[in-house]
């Protein structure tokens, strides 16, 4: 199954928008105004569609900022520390995320697809 395509289909249905408007670089919250109930539905739908276990905190990068604070307190390499907690993201993507934090919630469609692919590989 094409993970990105299926993820876009699911998002389009939950958020009631055209699939064509959704790209890998689209932000879930900044661009599509996804709310917490939408994210919950999304987690349930991804679990159902791909038959994988979803950890909501991981896939939605919920504890990104607290982990970043931890990394700073421990004087650890920030990217490496965050990748330990979000192993489905690449080093490049994590660097992008850190540069992008000021703009608001960083979660993009491609991150969801990355999570699904990682879960499929590791399960």
């Amino acid at each position: 199954m094409d993970i990105l395509k299926k993820t876009k289909e699911i998002l389009a249905e939950i958020l009631d928008i055209d699939e064509e408007e959704i790209a890998p670089e689209t932000y879930l919250i900044r661009d599509m105004n996804a709310e917490s109930i939408d994210l919950l539905e999304l987690a349930v739908a991804l679990n159902s569609a791909f038959n994988i276990k979803i950890n909501d905190d991981e896939i939605f990068l919920r504890n990104l900022r607290p982990y970043l604070t931890e990394a700073k307190e421990k004087q650890a390499d920030e990217v490496a520390y965050l990748l330990e907690n979000f192993p489905f993201l690449t080093k490049d993507r994590m660097t992008q995320i850190l540069d992008d934090l000021q703009g608001g919630p960083v979660l993009k469609v491609k991150d969801l697809a990355g999570y699904v692919a990682w879960r499929e590989e590791t399960s």
């Binding site: 539905e41 987690a43 349930v44």
Partner: protein, 247 residues
């Protein structure tokens, strides 16, 4: 009034208590499929004995509020396929707050509040897949008006009511709704045991001077599960003959 239902699969927590078994019978008669939880073999046998004439029309599943693995196994067994849930489960504890054992307090709240929240998380997500679901929590008039010695019981009921209420608030837009029923003195189970030998004294406090019957409770729960009750959500309803309405 003929009741109609959206779906058929009904998980009954605390499935071996008398009220749950009455409800299971009533459900079978209206073509619902009760799935009753049991905590040990004795409970399992009780369910099998009482529902012996309904073989094949109900299911049983193990669930122990002290065993998180049993919760995962339950939802695996029922394949997340759930239309209704009715929650009778409640651990028994009675004692004055100032004399309680600290370990018992922690265990009681872990099992009767935290574990219930974990059940609601699982049930809510299972129902989200179907975009519909109805949950009924059986609370107690003790939530509003506890007797001395019922502090922990009342606290657990109130906390659980809050969880059910919020689930209905949070998922109502997705077709998943909740109702809490607060029965008063019931002439079965623990209520019957409590009233034994002091029925008149107990019922003098109830404006109707009557205990609630098991049939009345099960009829009411069935109504709350039906399409006719779709307007009720995130609400607590007293069914106590007026016990908690006055001073």
């Amino acid at each position: 009034m003929k009741l109609e239902f959206s779906g058929s699969r009904a998980l009954i927590l605390g499935g071996s208590c008398d009220l749950a078994l009455y409800l299971a019978e009533s459900m079978i008669k209206v073509n619902l499929l009760p799935i009753l939880t049991y905590r040990d073999e004795n409970d399992h046998k009780k369910i099998s004995n009482i529902l012996s004439s309904f073989a094949g029309k109900y299911e049983t599943v193990y669930l122990d509020f002290a065993d998180i693995a049993s919760l995962d196994a339950l939802f695996c067994k029922i394949k997340d396929d759930l239309d209704f849930m009715v929650d009778f489960a409640q651990g028994d504890i009675e004692g004055l707050i100032a004399s309680a054992n600290p370990d018992d307090i922690s265990r009681y709240f872990e099992q009767n509040i935290s574990f219930r929240a974990k059940i609601l998380k699982k049930a809510g997500r299972a129902m989200l897949k179907k975009k519909k679901g109805r949950l009924v929590f059986i609370s107690s008039s003790a939530a509003a008006k506890p007797n001395p010695g019922q502090g922990f019981y009342a606290a657990a009921k109130l906390a659980s009511e809050a969880l059910y209420k919020n689930l209905g608030l949070e998922l109502g837009s997705r077709g998943i709704t909740t109702v809490t029923l607060r029965p008063g003195y019931i002439d079965t189970g623990r209520g019957k045991a409590y009233m034994q030998g002091r029925e008149k004294e107990v019922l003098r406090r109830v404006p109707t001077r009557k205990a609630i019957t098991a049939q009345e409770v099960t009829d009411t729960v069935l109504f709350f599960l039906s399409k006719s009750a779709a307007g009720f959500n995130a609400v607590e309803i007293a069914m106590d003959g007026g016990l908690t309405a006055g001073k």
